[in-house]
């Protein structure tokens, strides 16, 4: 059973990039452009890992992460935060909200895959 990764980012090319890369590696990828219904979809799909972008309209990545971690059903799912916000305070805030890993843009898709696989391997 291949692992399911969920990616939420309002930037289409990011989604595309990650999807292509991950699919090649044999992972199943679910992409979302809007964070609006993300929570329901997450509950439904129960992905093995979630990659979030911070800067999103309506519900920002960090809010979404908090909501995920508050829900006992899905709180165990690792959440990676993908964002251009790169300062220390932001990272701290992220980790405080339950983000499992913090990845700054620009990022290397190769590297992202590595860390995801690593995490899935645990």
């Amino acid at each position: 059973m291949s692992k399911k990764i969920m990616v939420i980012d309002d930037e289409p090319f990011i989604l595309m990039m990650i999807e292509d890369k991950f699919k090649r590696a044999g992972l199943e990828v679910i992409t979302l452009r809007e964070s609006k219904d993300a929570l329901d979809i997450i509950r439904r799909e129960k992905p093995d890992l979630i990659i979030l972008d911070w800067m999103m309209p309506e519900v920002s990545g960090i809010e979404l992460c908090k909501l995920i971690k508050e829900d006992p059903d899905i709180s165990s799912i690792p959440v990676f935060m993908l964002t251009a916000k790169g300062q220390e305070d932001d990272e701290k805030l992220g980790l405080r909200c339950g983000v499992d890993r913090y990845i700054t843009k620009p990022f290397s898709p190769r590297m992202l895959l590595e860390v995801v696989l690593e995490r899935l391997g645990d």
């Binding site: 930037e11 090319f13 990011i14 595309m16 990039m17 292509d20 890369k21 090649r24 800067m55 999103m56 309209p57 309506e58 920002s60 251009a84 916000k85 790169g86 300062q87 700054t104 843009k105 620009p106 990022f107 290397s108 898709p109 190769r110």
Partner: protein, 1069 residues
């Protein structure tokens, strides 16, 4: 042993008794047996054994019984025996208990009694023994051969012989020849007859010393026979010694009594003289002993007290207390003597007075001297009193009247007067008088020197004293003769150098003046003379002093006047003028010139009054009174120019105008010379020390004022210089005092605070700053600490940040008296700062997104993991993101260019329709995606605005871009252009999310994102660019918005771009 023997005795008795009893019995039994014929061997043996048994038994019983009985009987005996032994050994307290009630018991009783008697007797004897052994006096007992039988311990003590040594020795051994004879005599005569006697003799001690003793001997008689003698020997050496002492004391006493000056008399109760000493006999007669004291001492026939006189002897006999006093006594030649007596009682052992001892001393001399002293004291007192009267005041009127009164009282006169001599006229005038009528004063009150009694006395200095002047032959021509005056004296009043007058005292009765009184009156004359001298001197001094005082007052008022006018004067010229005018007023110099030391080499006339000198200079090289004054720092004056002036260079003007004398005073501040003041006089004038001193004082006041005004001028110049500097800098500088009042502020402050300077200076800073007071570090600075703070001004949408640095100003006591604030408009810097920060943020964020696309996608392409079709897509995205990046960079660059003023707008007439078309095309895709409706309303006119086309396009693009970005799907965007006379209004309205009131304020600031900043991707530069453009167009931008409804951005663009539309900065000066 006793026991045994007695026991034996008893035993034997008992045994014998038993035998006596038994033997017959046994014999009988034997006979019986034999008779009966029973007696055979067997029976005999049995018999004998029975007998033996019985015998043993009997013996045994006997033994036991005797023991028991013995004990019983013998015990008391034993007890007696023990007691007797004890008694023998000396214990006489033994008493035996009576045990048995038989003879032995009785014996016990008797024994006890005997012991008791013995004890009593022994005690008695030992008591007697004790007496003998403890008596102090020696005691010996001698036999009929006068040999010692016994002595007591006292004997040993006194004479040193022990009992053994003297027993058997003849008593004569203890005496010398003389003693022996005496003893023998006594012994033979008295003792032999059985009488006892007492006699004195000397005995020898063991160590050869002689001891005087008194022996009392008595015979020991037995049946009228002297069997021995007993002698008590008393050591009388002590007694002898005391006797000797008493003798010698008596001798001493005798000697003392006879050697004293006083008469020593002992009187008994009958007033009889018992004893006298030599002196008493000498004074009162050799034969006074036995006579009555009142006869001898007072020549009375009865005791004095009976005559009513005081008698100390009687007093003592009645009161029993010692006494002293003085009484008078006429000696045999009739001279009066004063005698001091001391009477003391002599008491017996009961305390009664039995005799009186009277000591008398002749104190006549002393009394006389005392009288003399009293007299002298009275005199001195009088003189003292007069002296103090004379010293009490320096006014002649006060003094002489009092003196006169006192004299009249003391000498018991009826009147008197003081005549004072006038040196010039040689007339004596009666200045002060008492008891004389006015008429008489007129007649006799003026006397020529040498005439009449006062005149003669004044001339000669010899006093005149008369018992009765009316009859006195010495007085011949005198007005007094018939005036009724009798007792009279006239004494000269002598001053230090000459006779100042006379004083007279008179009485209407005769009066004898003793020599003492004459002497005193003469002294009085002298002291009044001295007093008069003093008074004159005092008067002289007073007038002198008065003159001086006046002068001082004048000087002081001049100085005061000068001082006050100088302190009011500020201008140098004023200072000089004031000084010179006051000087000339007082000193009455005819002209005054002030030379100023312009340089160390040159003196120049700065001011002159009374003479016109122009602006003549003097070189310090030349020798002139002025240069001298400065060089030597001394006042120079020339009495007569024509004479002394030849030595100096004197200005021609001075000489020509006829000035004869001058005075130069250097004007100095400490050691530094400022110039010279010259006073010129037409008359020759020499200056007194005091005047010169006064001039110097004035000049020094002047110097100070002069210096002060110099400083003042300098400070004015400096002050205006400082002001110019302050007003030219761009930072605001103001000073605030401890109460918060703004003391000063430069122009920049007004500019920064955008208020006129007049509304700032002099007001409290809290008023001026209004709501910004909290941020203002003034309070902190006033506490003494450097402080800084920031104030944010927001006016008409313009936000400015002012940095304030405050430092305290402390005076020499380290107390804060004000604070200096430096205000600096740091809006620009702050903005730049913010821009920097924002750029960094932007770069880190906005750029990273496109960059991550470029980098990420490129990576994937390089890895070859992408299909061709996908690859094209990737490349497109990379391209687009690259473009976006470059757009952002361009925007930034545009803004900065605009800001730095590099861009010069190209003005062309704007065709709005064209603009709209371009916009429609640009945003077509986005309108579609967002399902936005775009409407526009343009005026009919064609080209009505001249502006830079690119700018306008950019402006509108940005606004529409924003509207799209911040709206939901299906929004409306409307563009309205209005054409007015002077300006054009462009409105862009949308139905988007709206802008929060809070954000409204800051919109348009670069990179400001507002609430929506988190959610959307934008540069934040859009509106900022708009604002910048509008500024360049000299226009204005307004934003109206309501959250949830929409936003309208209104642009006002003037047609004449350089016409000032906004309100400019007011003229703040």
């Amino acid at each position: 042993m006793v026991r045994l023997r007695l026991v034996f005795k008893l035993l034997i008795i008992y045994v014998v008794f038993t035998f006596a009893l038994l033997v017959p019995i046994f014999l009988n039994i034997y006979k019986l047996l034999k008779q009966e014929g029973i007696l055979n061997e067997e029976v005999l043996e049995k018999f004998y054994s029975d007998i033996a048994g019985i015998v043993f038994y009997a013996f045994f019983i006997a033994f036991i019984i005797s023991l028991v009985f013995a004990r019983k009987i013998l015990l008391p005996v034993k007890m007696l025996k023990d007691a007797a032994v004890k008694v023998k050994e000396g214990d006489l307290n033994v008493q035996v208990e009576r045990i048995s009630d038989d003879e032995i018991g009785e014996v016990t009783e008797v024994f006890n009694q005997m012991v008791r008697n013995l004890r009593e007797k022994t005690e008695e004897l030992s008591k007697k023994d004790l007496y003998v052994n403890t008596m102090m006096d020696a005691l010996w007992v001698i036999d009929e051969n006068n040999r010692i039988m016994d002595i007591n311990p006292a004997f040993t003590k006194i004479f040193g012989y022990s009992k053994e040594e003297v027993i058997g020795i003849s008593i004569y051994e203890f005496f010398d020849e003389q003693g022996q004879r005496a003893v023998a005599r006594e012994l033979e005569t008295k003792w032999a007859r059985g009488e006892h006697s007492t006699y004195k003799v000397q005995m020898f001690t063991k160590d050869g010393r002689r001891v005087p003793v008194m022996i009392t001997g008595a015979p020991i008689m037995k049946d009228d026979v002297v069997i021995g003698k007993i002698g008590v020997i008393k050591d009388i050496s002590e007694v002898e010694r005391l006797m000797k002492e008493i003798e010698s004391s008596k001798e001493h006493l005798e000697t003392i009594i006879n050697s004293i000056e006083e008469s020593f008399i002992v009187i008994d109760r009958d007033y009889r003289i018992l004893r006298t000493n030599i002196e008493a006999r000498r004074r009162y007669g050799e034969d006074i002993v036995g006579r009555k004291c009142f006869e001898v001492l007072h020549f009375e026939s009865r005791p004095c007290w009976m005559e009513g006189e005081y008698c100390p002897v009687h007093a003592i006999f009645s009161d029993r207390m010692a006494f002293r006093g003085i009484h008078q006594h006429y000696d045999t030649e009739g001279h009066l003597h004063f005698e001091e007596f001391v009477c003391s009682p002599v008491r017996d052992e009961l305390g009664n007075v039995v005799e009186v001892i009277q000591l008398l001393r002749d104190v006549t001399e002393r009394i006389k001297k005392e009288e003399e002293l009293k007299k002298r004291n009275a005199e001195l007192e009088l003189l003292n009193r007069l002296s103090s009267i004379l010293a009490s005041s320096l006014k002649a009127d006060d003094v002489f009247s009092k003196v006169l009164d006192h004299l009249i009282e003391t000498f018991d006169m009826d009147g008197g007067g003081f005549f004072l001599l006038d040196e010039k006229t040689k007339i004596l005038t009666c200045e002060y008088h008492r008891g004389i009528s006015e008429e008489f004063v007129r007649e006799a009150g003026r006397v020529r020197l040498g005439e009449d009694i006062p005149g003669r006395v004044a001339l000669t200095g010899q006093p005149v004293v008369s018992y009765d002047v009316s009859t006195d032959e010495r007085v011949i021509h005198s007005l007094l003769k018939y005036s009724g005056i009798k007792g009279y004296c006239c004494m000269p009043v002598k001053g230090k150098e000459r006779i100042l007058g006379v004083f007279c005292l008179f009485k209407f009765r005769e009066r004898h003046f003793t020599s003492d009184e004459e002497r005193i009156l003469a002294s009085i004359g002298e002291i009044t003379g001295l007093a008069l001298d003093n008074i004159k001197l005092y008067d002289q001094m007073r007038s002198l002093f008065e003159v001086q005082r006046q002068r001082r007052i004048t000087q002081q008022s001049v100085l005061l006047k000068l001082s006050s006018s100088l302190s009011a004067a500020v201008d140098i010229n004023e200072v000089i003028e004031s000084t010179v005018s006051i000087m000339s007023e007082y000193l009455m110099g005819d002209a005054i010139v002030f030379w100023e030391l312009k340089t160390p080499e040159v003196l120049q006339v700065r001011y002159s009054k009374g003479i016109s000198m122009g602006e003549i200079q003097q070189n310090m090289d030349i020798l002139s009174p002025e240069t001298n004054a400065i060089k030597n720092k001394k006042v120079y004056f020339i009495y007569d120019i024509n004479e002394e002036g030849l030595l100096y260079y004197i200005n021609n003007e001075v000489k020509q105008k006829g000035f004869k004398s001058l005075l130069c005073c250097p004007v100095m501040i400490g050691d530094r010379a400022l110039g010279v003041l010259t006073i010129l006089n037409r008359m020759s004038k020499s200056y007194q020390e005091e005047e010169i001193h006064f001039i110097r004082t004035i000049v020094s006041l002047f110097a100070v004022a002069y210096e002060r005004s110099l400083f003042y001028e300098k400070s004015i110049i400096e002050k205006s210089l400082a002001e110019s500097i302050l007003n030219s800098i761009s930072d605001g500088v103001c000073t605030i005092d401890t109460k918060g009042k703004i003391l000063s502020a430069n122009r920049a402050v007004a500019h920064i605070l955008e208020k006129p300077l007049t509304t700032i200076v002099g007001k409290n800073y809290k008023e001026v700053l209004g709501e910004f007071v909290d941020n203002c570090p003034v309070e902190e600075a006033l506490k003494g600490n450097n402080a800084s703070g920031e104030m944010v001004f927001d006016k008409d949408g313009k936000r400015r940040i002012i940095q304030v640095n405050a430092i305290p100003l402390v005076d020499s006591n380290e107390r804060v008296y004000a604070t200096v604030q430096v205000l600096r408009d740091v809006t620009r810097e702050k903005e730049l700062d913010r821009v920097k920060t924002e750029i960094i943020r932007l770069v880190s964020h906005e750029f990273r997104t496109p960059l991550s696309a470029i980098v990420g996608l490129t990576e994937m392409l390089i890895d070859g993991e992408v299909s061709d079709s996908r690859a094209i897509n990737y490349l497109r995205i990379i391209y687009e993101e690259g473009l976006r990046l470059s757009e952002m960079v361009s925007q930034l660059l545009d803004i900065s260019k605009l800001e730095s003023g590099v861009i010069v707008p190209t003005l062309t007439p704007i065709d709005f329709r064209e603009i709209v078309e371009i916009i429609k095309k640009r945003f077509a895709e986005r309108f579609e995606k967002k399902k936005a409706r775009f409407e526009y309303l343009l005026p009919d006119e064609a080209e009505f605005l001249k502006a830079d086309k690119e700018m306008i396009l950019q402006l509108l693009s940005n606004l529409i871009d924003n509207s799209l970005k911040y709206s939901d799907e299906g929004c409306h965007i409307t563009l309205k252009v209005g054409n007015y006379e002077d300006y054009v209004i462009i409105e862009v309205t949308d139905t988007g999310w709206g802008i929060d009131e809070k954000d409204l304020k800051n919109l348009g600031e670069k990179f400001y994102r507002g609430k929506h900043g988190e959610k959307t991707k934008g540069t934040g530069l859009g509106l900022a660019l708009c604002r910048e453009i509008i500024k360049h167009l000299s226009g204005k931008m307004d934003i109206e918005s309501a959250v949830g409804i929409g936003t309208t951005v209104r642009l006002y663009i003037p047609k004449e771009p350089y016409k000032i539309f906004q309100h400019s900065t007011e003229d703040l000066d």
